[in-house]
Amino acid sequence: MNESNKWDDKKIAAVSSAAIMLGGLVYYWIGEGQSTIELLELAYGSLKLFNNPLIF
C-alpha cells in the first residue's frame, strides 16, 4: 500500500471535522441512552426490561 503521510489541507479538515462530529454524535447518543435508562428505572424501580410484578 502506497500510503501518503502528507497532512495537507483536505486531510486535516477531513480528519478534524470527522473526529469532532463523531465525538459529538457519540456523546449525544450516550446521553440519550443514559436518560432512557433513568426513565426505565423511574418507571420500574430498577432496570428490568419486562414488567414482572414479582420483581417488586
Binding site: 500510503e3 469532532i20 457519540v26
Partner: protein, 195 residues
C-alpha cells in the same frame, strides 16, 4: 505569507472558523436570544404559507409528499451505506471504492435535494408543533453540519487522491462518521413523527 497560508489551508481554517462561530454563539447566548423570535415564522409557515395551508388542508397531498420525503431519505441512506460500507471493506469488495464514491455522489445530491425540499413542506404542516421539539433542532443541526461535511469536506478529500494513498484508519473514521450522521438524521426524523 498570511495570504499563502490562508489559501493553502482554506478548508482547515473554515472548519476552525465554524467551531469559533459556534463557540461565540453559545458563549453569548445568541441561540436562546434568536429562538423566541422564530416562533412567528413557524406559525406563519403552518397557517399562512401556501404549502402550510395545503399540507394542513389536504391530508392526501401531505401523505404523498411525506412518502417522497421518506423515499428520498431511503435513496440517500442507500448511497451512504453503499459508499461507507465499501470504505469499511464490508460490501462490494470487488468494486474499487473510488468508483463507488464518485458513482453514488450524484444520486446522493439529488436525494438530499429532494429530501430537503419535501422536508420543508412536511415541516410547514406541523410548524407550531416542531418548533417546541428539541429533537427537531438536533435534526436540523446534524442535517446542516452533515451536509456541509459530505459536500465540502469528505467528497473533495476522497476524490482528490487514490484511496490506496489514504490511511485505512482515516477512511474508517470518515465512513463511521458519515454513517452516524445519516443514522442520526433518520432516527431524529422518525422521533419527530412519534413525538
Amino acid at each position: 505569507m498570511l495570504g499563502s497560508m490562508l489559501s493553502q489551508y482554506a478548508r482547515t481554517l473554515s472548519v476552525a472558523a465554524v467551531l469559533l462561530l459556534i463557540g461565540i454563539i453559545e458563549a453569548f447566548g445568541l441561540r436562546d436570544a434568536v429562538y423566541g423570535d422564530l416562533l412567528p415564522f413557524f406559525t406563519w409557515m403552518r397557517e399562512s404559507s401556501w404549502f402550510g395551508v395545503i399540507g394542513t388542508t389536504y391530508g392526501s397531498i401531505y401523505a404523498t409528499v411525506e412518502a417522497v420525503h421518506l423515499l428520498s431519505m431511503a435513496v440517500l441512506g442507500g448511497t451512504v451505506l453503499a459508499t461507507d460500507l465499501r470504505l469499511l471493506g464490508v460490501i462490494f469488495r470487488d468494486v474499487p471504492s473510488e468508483t463507488l464514491v464518485t458513482g453514488t455522489y450524484k444520486c446522493f445530491k439529488w436525494a438530499l435535494f429532494m429530501a430537503v425540499l419535501t422536508g420543508i413542506f412536511c415541516a410547514a404542516g406541523v410548524g407550531d408543533k416542531i418548533y417546541y421539539m428539541q429533537v427537531f433542532w438536533i435534526k436540523m443541526l446534524v442535517l446542516l453540519t452533515g451536509s456541509c461535511f459530505m459536500i465540502f469536506i469528505k467528497q473533495p478529500f476522497l476524490t482528490s487522491r487514490a484511496h490506496s494513498e489514504i490511511s485505512p484508519w482515516t477512511l474508517r473514521l470518515l465512513a463511521v462518521t458519515s454513517i452516524l450522521i445519516w443514522f442520526t438524521v433518520a432516527a431524529t426524523g422518525r422521533w419527530i413523527g412519534f413525538s
